[in-house]
């Protein structure tokens, strides 16, 4: 018994001298873990990713991937580039996952999305038409994206039957509107506007829709012409020439202004169409599914 107590005293001493500091410094044990180990980098990278700090998350994932090959992390790494608008790097990294067992379809979809948002529509269409790594699980989504791409550049619009049938019924009426606005834009001809203003000052502006400007042009040119004629009649030659010069200047300006107004009108039509389309699809995430890992 005595021996047991002695031994226990010894064990208590060991406990207080060695184990107690370990308990007290347990926080330090956590601290002592390497903040730059692959595991720590993955944890920290995932935290940054969830906080939407994608640029920093990509750095952490890159360091982690130097030591461990993990498809989910590689997908997240590529997604970081996609999220910060570095679509070329995103596409390149998604390409590397085409052979992945679990994320093959998702990475192919993400690749097509990256190419689309990179505005490389020609590559997108070539890839789609040649069935280059089409994600069969998301074929409808890619097909829709293929047709949407025609709204954003000057390529010839495809046939209406295939075009409209790719979209769900809820969107069809708006898509039809966009299609016909793109195919038959309500442009004004600058030459017609200039010729009309040459015939009757201000008429070109009225043709473009700037009615007040048109009447102002007509009034100013008319008044100046009248003043010029009136002054010449009363032998005030200097003032006659002055008003004639001003009248000619306003007449020329009215013709040039009408042509310019038509061009501005056309630019407005294109701008409004582009922003309407972009706004519509952005609001609906381009009718694409949200992939969560």
């Amino acid at each position: 018994m005595k021996g047991f107590l002695i031994n226990n005293k010894f064990l208590f001493c060991i406990y207080f001298l060695f184990l107690l500091p370990i308990v007290l410094y347990s926080q330090n044990y956590i601290d002592q873990q390497n903040l730059f180990s692959p595991e720590s980098r993955l944890k920290f990278g995932s935290y940054l990713y969830s906080e939407e700090d994608y640029l920093r998350a990509s750095v952490e994932f890159r360091e982690y991937l130097k030591y461990v090959d993990n498809d989910t992390v590689r997908f997240k790494f590529a997604t970081c580039f996609y999220k910060i608008g570095r679509f070329q790097e995103a596409a390149d990294n998604f390409k590397g996952l085409f052979t992945s067992r679990n994320l093959q379809q998702e990475s192919k979809l993400a690749y097509y999305k990256s190419v689309f948002f990179q505005k490389n529509y020609s590559l997108f269409r070539i890839s789609f038409n040649n069935e280059f790594h089409i994600p069969w699980d998301y074929k409808d989504e890619i097909k829709r994206l293929y047709y949407i791409s025609f709204f954003f550049d000057n390529s010839v619009l495809p046939d209406t039957n295939n075009f409209f049938s790719s979209f769900p019924d809820s969107n069809k009426s708006v898509i039809k509107q966009f299609y016909f606005r793109k195919k038959f834009p309500e442009y004004k001809n600058p030459t017609t506007a200039a010729l009309l203003s040459g015939l009757i000052p201000g008429l070109g502006k009225i043709y473009v829709g700037e009615i007040t400007d048109g009447f102002t042009s007509l009034l100013v040119t008319g008044v100046l012409t009248f003043l010029a004629i009136d002054n010449f009649k009363h032998n005030h030659n200097f003032r006659g020439w002055l008003f004639a010069g001003l009248g000619a200047y306003f007449y020329g300006g009215n013709i040039y202004g009408s042509a310019a107004a038509a061009q501005i009108f056309n630019a407005g039509v294109k701008f409004n169409f582009d922003s309407d389309v972009r706004l519509y699809f952005e609001k609906r995430n381009y009718l694409l599914p949200e992939i969560k890992l």
């Binding site: 001493c13 001298l17 060695f18 500091p21 410094y25 926080q27 330090n28 956590i30 601290d31 002592q32 873990q33 390497n34 903040l35 720590s40 944890k43 920290f44 935290y47 940054l48 700090d53 920093r56 750095v59 003043l227 009136d230 003032r239």
Partner: protein, 278 residues
């Protein structure tokens, strides 16, 4: 005896190991070193890493505060305010809380959300008991007024710290140098060109006067010669245009001069003023 000696030796070794600076302290130093070397992006990353791994939250105030400073240095003032607010939430002392609040005020001054800066200063003022804190509040309120182009109010605020405060004298000088926009406009109504001459644009003033005299002469001459249409045409197209233009010009010159004076002062403050700046 030998056993006791060994136990003490082991104990000292064990405790001395724990007493080594921990990784979080090293990380804090590393991040601060990056900040000191103006590597703000990397510094933010390392401060964020520190926050993520510091479960005890001991260094959260410092890290959030420093992230705020990094964003501020990169002129990302919205982000800076967010992190200073987080620093305030993680502050442990009144001093740390005040420090964070003042930084938020300074960011609001820089991004010209001066109404918010005033609101924050009002909040601080109601609970400020020491002279040092009150002076700090007057100081930053003075800066807020300067950014609002209210130099007299700024002068009054700096005077509360010290009637001969360097910035008070500067504000008084700006107020003295500025011209009156109303006066420039009114004298242009009475004598065309006078407003421009008052603001120091002598050539423009004389030209304006000349154009008005010529167009008035032509108008009166036409009416005297019973050419009523000519008279009206010259009156509306020429004289009225120059008379109206003269008034607008005088107002514009006065405004531009005042903006120039204020901008020169702010440039001086930015480049040459040695005191604390927002």
């Amino acid at each position: 005896m030998k056993k006791k000696f060994l136990i003490i030796l082991f104990y000292l070794v064990a405790v001395s190991n724990y007493a080594q600076p921990d990784n979080l302290s090293i990380q804090l130093d590393y991040a601060t070193n990056l900040y000191n070397n103006n590597q703000f992006f990397d510094a933010i990353t390392e401060y964020k890493r520190l926050i993520f791994f510091d479960l005890s939250k001991k260094s959260h105030f410092k890290a959030y505060f420093q992230i705020g400073k990094c964003y501020k240095a990169g002129a990302k003032l919205d982000d800076a305010i967010k992190y200073f607010a987080l620093a305030e939430m993680n502050s442990n002392t009144d001093d740390e809380r005040l420090k964070s609040k003042i930084e938020i005020v300074r960011c609001n001054i820089l991004r010209k959300t001066t109404t918010r800066a005033h609101q924050l200063l009002d909040g601080l003022e109601s609970s400020a008991f020491s002279k040092e804190i009150r002076d700090s509040i007057y100081y930053w309120r003075g800066w807020t007024y300067m950014f609002e182009d209210k130099w007299q109010s700024a002068s009054d605020s700096f005077a509360k710290i010290n009637p001969y405060h360097e910035l008070k004298i500067l504000c008084d000088r700006v107020e003295k140098d500025k011209v009156s926009v109303t006066f420039a406009t009114v004298i242009s109504y009475i004598l065309p060109g006078a407003g421009q001459i008052y603001t120091g644009n002598y050539l423009s003033g004389l030209l304006s006067l000349g154009w008005n005299i010529v167009s008035a002469y032509l108008t009166i001459k036409s009416f005297n010669a019973d050419r009523v249409f000519d008279g009206f045409a010259i009156l509306t197209l020429l004289w009225q245009r120059f008379y109206r233009g003269n008034i607008q010009n005088a107002e514009q010159f006065a405004l531009e001069k005042n903006i120039g004076i204020a901008n020169n002062t702010l440039i001086y403050l930015q480049n040459q003023f040695k005191g604390i700046k927002p």
